[in-house]
C-alpha cells in the first residue's frame, strides 16, 4: 500500500515537473508574442488607450478578449462591428445612442483620449486570438438581395459611418434596427426627416438614437433612403 513518503514524493515530483514545463512554456510565449500580437504596432498611443481602459475599469462592465464582466458588449471586434465614427459619437454620449436601455457611464473624454482608446481597440483587434470571437455558426444566412434594394456603395459617407452599425441595406450592415431598403414604401420625406432628426420625439423610448448630423448630411441620407439619388 502507498506509504506517506511515496505520497509526498508524488506531490513534490509532480509540482516541480509541471512547474518547470510551465515556466518553459511561458518563456516561449514571450518569444512568440511579438509576432502574434504585433508588438511593432504597440505605440505610445495604444499604451495610453490601455491606461484609460484600466483606470476607468471598463472591464467591470465589458469583456475584452473574453475577459471581464458580462453586463455590456464584448469589445474585441468593436471597431469592425461599429466603425470608428460611430464609436466616437457613442462614447461622447452613450445614453443618447441607446436611450432607455442598459446604461454605460458617461465619461468626459477629450477627443485625443477617444483616439487613444480607438487605437488601443484597433491593436487588440489585430491580435491573433486563435479564432475568438467565433463567427456564429447558426446565424441566419442573408437571403438573396431582393430587387429594388439599396446599394451600400451608393450611400453617403455619414450613413456608412453612423447608420450601418445598426441597420442593413442591400443585405449588409448591423442587426440592431430593421433593414432600411424599403423605408421609402412607408415614409414620406418629412416623416423620415423628422424621424432621423429626433427619433425620441416621434416615438418616445425607441432604441434608435439621435445622431449628430448636420442639416445637409441629413438631407443627403434622406435622399438616399428615398431613392432620389
Amino acid at each position: 500500500m502507498l506509504s506517506k513518503s511515496a505520497a509526498r514524493a508524488f506531490f513534490l515530483g509532480g509540482t516541480v515537473l509541471t512547474g518547470l514545463v510551465f515556466i518553459g512554456m511561458t518563456v516561449d510565449t514571450h518569444r512568440q508574442a511579438p509576432a502574434r500580437t504585433n508588438t511593432a504596432a504597440l505605440t505610445d498611443e495604444v499604451k495610453a488607450g490601455h491606461v484609460i481602459w484600466t483606470e476607468n475599469n471598463c472591464m467591470g462592465c465589458h469583456t475584452l478578449l473574453g475577459e471581464g464582466a458580462y453586463y455590456a458588449p464584448e469589445l474585441t471586434k468593436v471597431i469592425s462591428r461599429r466603425g470608428k465614427p460611430w464609436i466616437r459619437a457613442f462614447i461622447k454620449d452613450p445614453e443618447a445612442m441607446f436611450p432607455g436601455r442598459r446604461k454605460m457611464v458617461k465619461y468626459d473624454f477629450t477627443d485625443e483620449q477617444i483616439e487613444h482608446l480607438l487605437t488601443f481597440f484597433e491593436w487588440i483587434e489585430g491580435i491573433d486570438t486563435n479564432g475568438f470571437p467565433a463567427d456564429p455558426p447558426y446565424k441566419p444566412v442573408d437571403g438573396p438581395v431582393a430587387a429594388g434594394s439599396l446599394a451600400l456603395a451608393d450611400a453617403p459617407e455619414k450613413f456608412k459611418a453612423l447608420c450601418v452599425a445598426c441597420h442593413k441595406v442591400g443585405g449588409k450592415g448591423g442587426i440592431v434596427g430593421p433593414a432600411l431598403d424599403d423605408v421609402r414604401a412607408r415614409y414620406d420625406r418629412p416623416a423620415l426627416d423628422r424621424w432621423i432628426q429626433d427619433p425620441q420625439a416621434v416615438k418616445p423610448g425607441t432604441a434608435m438614437p439621435k445622431l449628430p448630423l448636420s442639416d445637409p448630411e441629413r438631407a443627403a441620407i434622406v435622399d438616399y433612403l428615398l431613392g432620389a439619388q
Binding site: T15, T29, G66, E67, A134, V176
Partner: protein, 465 residues
C-alpha cells in the same frame, strides 16, 4: 481552545461575516441591474458594484483563512503564537486596507484588472500585511514543539498565495502579458495554492471531527494536493486559449485542466471515506456536515461545472459569458465559502464555549437554506448563460437584445439569492448568540483521541482499508 492566542481567530471570523454580508448587498445591486433596474447607476455603476462584490469576496475568504490559521497553528505546533499582539495589528491593517480599497472603488480609484482592482499603492500595503501574517505563522511553526504535515501544507499554501500575488503587480506594456500574469494570481490561487490551504484545513477538521488516525489522513492529503498541482499548474492554459498566447495552449490547457476535477473528486471521496471510517460518534455533527458539504460542493461547482466549459471547443463559445458566472459562484462558495464556514462551525464552539454551532436548529437551517439557495442561484445563472451562448454567440443576435431576453432569469437569480442570504443571516444569528470568546483557557480535547501517538504525528504506519 488550548491557547490564549487562538482567540484572535474570532476577530477574523467576525470580519469575514461582516464583509460577506456587504458582498451580498452588492450582489443584489448587480442582480437588479441585470433585471433592468439600475436605479443606482449614478452613484454605484455596475463596474463599482462588481469590483466591490468580488474584492469583498476575496478579502472575506482570506480573512477566514487567516482566522483558521491562527486557530490551527498553535494547536498543531503545541505553543502560543510568537507575538499575539502583532496578530491584532495584522488584523487592523487588513481591515484598513480593505475599507480604503472599497471606498476608493466608489470614486473611480482602481485598476481595471478583474479581481485585482486594488490600486497599486494599496497593493504594497497588502504585501506588507500578508508578510506579517506569514511571519507570525511561520515563526510559530519554527519555534513549535512539533511540525505536522497538516501545518506544513497549510503554511506552504499560505506562503505561495502571498508570493503569487507579486506577478500580478508587474506593469506590462502589452495587454496580453497584463492578462497572462493576472492569471498567475487568479488561477494559480483558486486552482492551485488555495486548494492546498483547503487540503490543510480539511485535514485538520477531519482529524478533529472523525478521530481517524492522523497518519492516514495526512497521507491522502499529499495525494489530493499532488493531483491539484499536477493538473492545476499547466491547467492555467485554459485562460490562455484566446488572449493572444500561442496555439499549443489549447492542447496543453485543455488536457491538464480537464484533469483538474480529479483533485476535487479526490477531496470529496477522501472526506466521505474518513467520515465513514470515523464512525457515527461526532462531537460536532454540524461542523462535519459543513466539511463534507465543502468537499462535495467544490467537486460539483469547480470540478463538474468547470469541466463543462474548459475544453477549447466549448470555451470558444462560452468564454466571457454568464456561463462563467454560473461556475464562478458555485466554485467559490462550494470550495472556499463553505470551507470557511466549516472552520467557523468547528472553531467557534471551542472559542466561545457555547455549543450553538454544534446542534442548534438555526445552524442546521443555515446550512440547508444556504446550500439549496446556492444551487438554485447556479441554476438561474446556468439558464441565463446557456441562453446567452445560444442566442448571442451561436445565432448572432445583438448583445443588448439578448440581455433583454434573459432578464427574467435574473428575477429567478434574485429569488434564489434571497434564500441563500436567509441562510447566511441564520448563521450570523448563531454567531451573535455565541458571543465573545472565553476569557479563560479551557482545556477541551473533544473529538480527538486524547493525546496519543497518532495525534502527535509520530510515525504510526497503518494501511488504509
Amino acid at each position: 481552545m488550548k491557547f490564549q492566542s487562538q482567540k484572535v481567530a474570532w476577530l477574523f471570523f467576525a470580519t469575514s461575516l461582516v464583509l460577506l454580508a456587504l458582498q451580498l448587498v452588492y450582489g443584489f445591486i448587480m442582480g437588479f441591474a441585470h433585471m433592468g433596474y439600475d436605479g443606482l447607476h449614478e452613484w454605484i455603476p455596475f463596474n463599482t458594484a462588481r469590483a466591490v462584490h468580488t474584492n469583498l469576496l476575496v478579502v472575506w475568504i482570506l480573512s477566514g483563512f487567516m482566522g483558521a490559521a491562527y486557530y490551527i497553528i498553535p494547536e498543531e505546533t503545541d505553543r502560543e503564537l510568537i507575538a499575539p499582539k502583532l496578530a491584532y495589528v495584522q488584523w487592523a491593517a487588513l481591515v484598513i486596507v480593505g475599507v480604503i480599497a472599497i471606498v476608493g472603488f466608489h470614486f473611480n480609484w482602481w485598476e481595471g484588472r478583474k479581481f485585482l482592482e486594488i490600486p497599486r499603492p494599496l497593493d504594497f500595503l497588502v504585501v506588507v500585511d500578508v508578510l506579517l501574517f506569514i511571519f507570525l505563522i511561520g515563526g510559530t511553526i519554527w519555534k513549535g514543539k512539533r511540525r505536522t504535515t497538516t501545518s506544513l501544507v497549510l503554511y506552504f499554501g499560505l506562503l505561495m498565495a502571498a508570493l503569487l500575488y507579486l506577478p500580478g503587480m508587474i506593469d506590462f506594456r502589452s495587454h496580453l502579458f497584463d492578462s497572462y500574469y493576472r492569471w498567475w494570481v487568479v488561477h494559480l490561487w483558486v486552482e492551485g495554492v488555495w486548494e492546498l490551504i483547503m487540503g490543510g484545513l480539511v485535514a485538520f477538521l477531519l482529524i478533529k471531527l472523525t478521530g481517524v488516525d492522523r497518519e492516514i489522513i495526512e497521507k491522502w492529503l499529499y495525494v489530493v494536493v499532488g493531483f491539484t498541482f499536477l493538473s492545476g499548474i499547466l491547467g492555467t492554459g485554459h485562460h490562455y486559449y484566446y488572449i493572444g498566447a500561442p496555439k499549443y495552449w489549447l492542447m496543453v490547457g485543455g488536457i491538464f485542466s480537464a484533469l483538474e476535477p480529479l483533485a476535487f473528486l479526490g477531496m470529496a471521496m477522501y472526506g466521505i471515506a474518513m467520515a465513514r471510517k470515523g464512525g457515527r460518534k461526532h462531537s460536532n455533527r454540524l461542523a462535519l456536515v459543513w466539511t463534507l458539504g465543502t468537499c462535495i460542493m467544490s467537486f460539483v461547482g469547480a470540478g463538474f461545472l468547470g469541466f463543462a466549459h474548459t475544453l477549447p471547443q466549448v470555451n470558444l463559445y462560452t468564454h466571457g459569458t454568464l456561463v462563467t458566472a454560473m461556475h464562478g459562484h458555485m466554485a467559490f462558495w462550494g470550495a472556499y465559502g463553505m470551507l470557511v464556514f466549516a472552520c467557523m462551525a468547528y472553531m467557534l464552539p471551542e472559542l466561545t464555549g457555547r455549543p450553538l454551532f454544534k446542534h442548534s436548529k438555526i445552524s442546521e437551517w443555515a446550512f440547508w437554506t444556504s446550500t439549496i439557495g446556492m444551487i438554485a442561484m447556479t441554476g438561474a445563472f446556468a439558464v441565463a448563460g446557456v441562453a446567452q451562448v445560444y442566442l448571442e454567440r451561436m445565432s448572432g443576435m445583438d448583445f443588448l437584445d439578448v440581455q433583454e431576453a434573459i432578464e427574467v432569469h435574473f428575477f429567478g437569480l434574485v429569488l434564489a439569492a434571497s434564500l441563500f442570504s436567509l441562510g447566511i443571516i441564520l448563521f450570523v444569528v448563531d454567531f451573535w448568540r455565541s458571543g465573545l470568546p472565553l476569557g479563560g483557557i479551557t482545556l477541551k480535547a473533544e473529538g480527538l483521541p486524547a493525546g496519543g501517538a497518532s495525534d502527535v504525528g509520530l510515525e504510526a504506519p497503518e494501511a488504509v482499508g
